[in-house]
Symmetry: C2
Subunit: 657 residues, 2 copies
């Protein structure tokens, strides 16, 4: 047995799953000669007890690849292994099934069968047959030994009776071979599946004071007024950009200009001022009491609160004076600001982890504990790939021990190896390349990739936009683009996220950049929700979250399947949860078809691989479009016609056992 999966670097990085997640255990299993053999995937609970043992099935042809779909049911540090064994019953059934009908060694084969059943009935040790099973086996032995009956009839009688089922339930496992035990970390469901909503708290409620003509910041209290609207759209997590004091030295002005004008609030990512650093709250936002109010209000509405963790400092951060060893110094003795030569970012001092890694890590841990003690249950981590991997590995391991429920989302838009290794080092979720995967070909390839082998470590979070990202597709695709990308994000991955203002189709870029003009990183941006949902996008977001909640198949990652269409603007994929993996015991199937052309109606044939969804191929299926409530009869091949904007997709659920 070789190539057991999911295993990374011989178990150095535990494979990951979440409670209820369905995932494959795989191995290449083979043996000498022609005898039958079997393989099982075994899941072992944190307390060392065996949770499940699932017979693996051969997949593909001729490569000895075996697979079982398994599920863990509690949070904790599990292990798994693969066991393979010689299957004397399978060997006998195969040989007798050929030889007895052919009249070869018929009596001898019956005698050989009786020997196998004797061994099975008398077995002690692991998983021994119970009294009823033993009785069945003894009766089977008598059947095979009955010299008054022709061997052909004895064999037929045995195989049509209860013995085969008993032998599957209580197999004879000869020459059992065990793989090593490999680590499997099981986390809470929100680590895999959830809907995030990002906001800048200072924008909500910000206004110009008519007396002074000056901007007045929104506060955590005014931001809390947004929460019912966000919860009403069905989001699970509200994520706040940094709430800490903002530096004034080299403060950036509106639209990333180098010099702030009086009254410009600065970027919340330039953290630290005489008012404090990462453990403090920007005074214009309020106090810890206000923060606690915000968290409590969110909790009442069923929302968890995530905070940005941007490990960098403004030159005014208290650490700069108190802990100069946490910053790099140049040959002239000055502290090194951020650079990407020839570009300079003088408003930001990166942290330097090499001089005092332990001291810095312990301070960051202290900062995290402050926010966790105030009810924060998730952190969106800014640019983790610019900090050393061992730092994350140690920090996240410690946090995992003390606060296993606190989630970390990695904002590493960088090369694949780094993104994957951050996930392996303990990040629960990762931003992805989704925003830049827009064509049919790209989407087919990418949805498959994120749901395949790497899914045992890297859980994707799909965001159509963020405060840093406004892709050309979003800039130019109008309302249609915002509808299309919402559907793809919400149903294309179990975790998705929306940046505030998406409802208003904010799609004007700063010229020459793929981010919004008048970006609220550098200014207040209050939004007027009083005009209602004029584009229908808020309604769509809410409906998508509703469908996600109703359909557990959508909260799985590794069950995505792409279906072919004959129009390059039509993308079709499904998610499927088999009855044996579903809490209700019901099969759950969701088939999504999206017209990715944001401007035009598109039509064409969609060809469903119904067999892979466990659905019958020989009759029509009643499907319900969860976006419209309409019901249709669908077959393997279906003609689809989708207009742009709010009617850009079918989200079909299937009523089938």
């Amino acid at each position: 047995m070789v190539d057991v999966q999911p295993v990374s670097e011989a178990g150095r990085f535990p494979a990951k799953s979440t409670v209820g997640e369905v995932f494959p255990v795989r191995a290449t299993v083979f043996r000498e000669g022609h005898d039958a053999y079997a393989a099982e995937a075994v899941l072992v609970r944190p307390d060392g007890t065996e949770a499940s043992r699932v017979r693996m099935q051969e997949v593909g042809i001729g490569l000895d690849h075996y697979e079982a779909m398994v599920q863990a049911d509690t949070v904790g540090e599990w292990t798994f292994r693969v066991e393979s064994w010689s299957d004397p019953w399978g060997t006998w059934v195969h040989d007798a099934g050929i030889k007895i009908p052919a009249g070869i060694d018929t009596a001898l084969m019956c005698a050989e069968g009786a020997v196998v059943l004797e061994r099975a009935a008398g077995r002690r040790g692991m998983d021994p047959p119970d009294r009823d099973a033993r009785a069945v086996l003894r009766a089977g032995i008598r059947t095979l030994a009955d010299d008054d009956v022709a061997p052909t009839d004895r064999f037929r009688a045995l195989m049509s009776g209860p013995v085969p089922a008993v032998m599957v339930r209580y197999p004879l496992r000869d020459r059992r071979t065990l793989s090593p035990d490999y680590p499997l970390r099981v986390e809470r469901p929100l680590a895999l599946a959830g809907a995030w909503y990002e906001m800048f708290p200072r924008s909500a409620g910000a206004h110009v004071d008519p007396k002074t003509g000056q901007w007045v910041s929104g506060t955590l209290r005014t931001a809390a007024e947004e929460l019912p609207r966000i919860a009403g759209m069905g989001f699970d997590i509200v994520y706040l950009t940094p709430v800490h004091p903002i530096g004034t030295t080299f403060r950036k002005g509106r639209n990333n200009t180098l010099e702030a004008k009086p009254g410009d609030p600065g970027s919340p990512y330039a953290i630290g001022s005489p008012d404090g650093g990462h453990d403090a709250i920007e005074p214009s936002l309020g106090t810890f009491e206000d923060f606690d109010y915000f968290v409590a209000r969110a909790r009442e509405l069923g929302l968890e609160v995530a905070l940005d963790l941007a490990l960098q400092c403004s030159p005014d951060h208290p650490w700069v004076k108190d802990h100069p060893q946490w910053f790099a110094h140049r040959a002239d003795g000055t502290i090194a600001y951020a650079e990407n030569p020839p570009k300079k970012y003088q408003d930001i001092y990166p942290l330097y982890f090499d001089a005092d890694p332990k001291g810095l890590r312990s301070e960051i841990r202290r900062v995290l504990d402050v926010w966790i003690s105030h009810g924060v249950t998730a952190f969106r981590v800014d640019n983790p790939h610019t900090k050393p991997l061992p730092f994350w590995q140690k920090l996240l391991a410690d946090l995992h021990t003390d606060h296993p429920d606190v989630l970390f989302l990695s904002e590493a838009f960088t090369r694949p190896a780094m993104m994957l290794t951050l996930a392996k080092c303990g990040f629960h979720q990762s931003y992805t390349y989704f925003s830049w995967r827009n064509t049919k070909h790209e989407l087919y390839e990418y949805l498959t990739t994120v749901g395949s082998d790497q899914a045992a470590w890297m859980r994707p979070s799909f965001w159509p936009t963020t405060h840093d990202i406004l892709t050309p597709y979003m800039q130019h695709g109008g309302v249609g683009a915002f509808a299309v990308r919402a559907v793809l994000a919400a149903l294309g991955a179990p975790t998705w996220g929306i940046y505030s203002g998406y409802e208003l189709v904010e799609n004007v870029p700063r010229p020459g950049f793929e981010e919004q003009i008048d970006n609220e990183k550098y200014e207040f941006r209050p939004r007027d929700w009083s005009e209602g949902d004029k584009f229908g996008i808020a309604l769509l977001l809410g409906r998508l979250n509703q469908i996600r909640r109703a359909h557990p198949a959508l909260r799985q990652l590794r069950n995505v399947r792409m279906h072919s269409t004959d129009n390059d603007h039509l993308v079709c994929f499904s998610r499927h949860l088999a009855p044996e993996h579903s809490a209700t015991g019901m099969r759950d199937v969701v088939i999504t078809v999206v017209n990715i052309d944001p401007w035009n109606t598109q039509e064409g044939w969609v060809h469903l691989d119904l067999q892979s969804l466990g659905l019958p191929v020989d009759r029509g299926l009643t499907v319900i479009d969860e976006l419209t409530g309409d019901s249709h009869e669908w077959w393997t091949d279906n003609f689809v016609r989708l207009a742009p904007e709010s009617t850009c997709a079918h989200v079909m659920t299937v009523s089938a056992p």
Copy 2:
């Protein structure tokens, strides 16, 4: 750093190489932030000393994949590892190269450079700079500190002087990260590259006695008369099918008939009679004295001797009586003969390894020692995939310790995972699917496959035919097929083999089977060499072996490169050895073009990837066709016209530095 290769199952199976073999060490290497970093592949000798340290180069784009081509120079149990480190010199060169010309921080950058050079000059520990290097670095520091010169000119002066070369030779390795040490077994060159010739010794010299009308077996002495002819064709190893006493119970007759007629000699694979078993010699072949004579004669001619190891018994084998526990018994107490239901092979008892694995293994080890003590240096192992892998793993590990020079060739025509794992368990070489890869598409795919990742464990042996294999291509392709497949086998893999009679284009199958009619497995088959080389095949075999000996690139495995052609009957591939890996310090390039249509002349364009061969693309190259001696001028695109049979190929070598 992750995914270090070649590593199998975390080092459970050592990677393999041979003395002088060029092979890649690979890893995915990355770090946080933008600073420069480097990676090195380090080879460590069996005595623990560092043999070589090669800087890895990034391959591909954006995936952080690094590779170095390395070579070990002695037999033994080596290790290798990958080291990566932060490269402050590289970082400074990058930043200064942008900032100084742009007029940013120019004096500061010079000062920063001086700090790097100071550190380099003062370095102790691993690989410290020698006195000359230190002097160069000190001069560089003075250059950077010379306030009388503009920073731009200081930088230019430094970079055009000797400092950059010194910094490559004596790098500053900051924050060195070491992979684990992984095992690497280095074996003798014949484990990778050699030419085998298979013969049934009893056929050579067999004749009908005119007095009795009965066949008289050839002997080891008459077989030895073939050796000068075999050595003359340039083969390295003569491989004898089993020489042991042959059983009479259920002896097979000619053409695999169930009942032997009087005088039928039986299959040499039905081993064992009252005359002895695997440690004995069939009396009609001679004695151990004759065997020693055969080996000595082979040695004189520069040939090694390989013996067949077929671990199965005739019912008459001495083990059957003396060690019944080494055979499986059926429910009626009889010994189980070989079966593939409903087929029976009653002349063969397979060995049963589970009852007394240690006793059986020690007996087989004793048998091997007998033959090794009589000068056998290689074994061709019949059907190893029908015996347990742990048996091979233990047996071959013991032999490797005591007789590291003795080679084992695995005859496992079975599924890929088993073939590869047998190689990992210690077989030096493996028969392959080559015989069934005949079309251009198949050959392009297969030559690439055997030279890629699996090549660190499984060394392919290419055989156009064997006594068991005569594919349809060989049956129907006439003399042309025998020429084509000889060229492909000899140049397509570093080890190839020819089954006696190939010279005579023996291509008539037993009807309905892919093996020869009147197969010498079941009868004597003396061959008449007196008619000379009427098909030109013997000449071709000899010429191919001559070219293989003259060109070390052909004795490498992982250097194959396929080149495109615009005719589906023209196959083009090259092997290339770079000057730094060649014993002579000369580049060695062999480009082979084969017309795989055995009947017709084919012509078309061949497009060479000259850059990958280290050859200039901007001028004509003088190439010499080693089959004809003709010289040509070749470019990237060359028009080729090849007739079938003896002129079916160009084997071009290139005169280039």
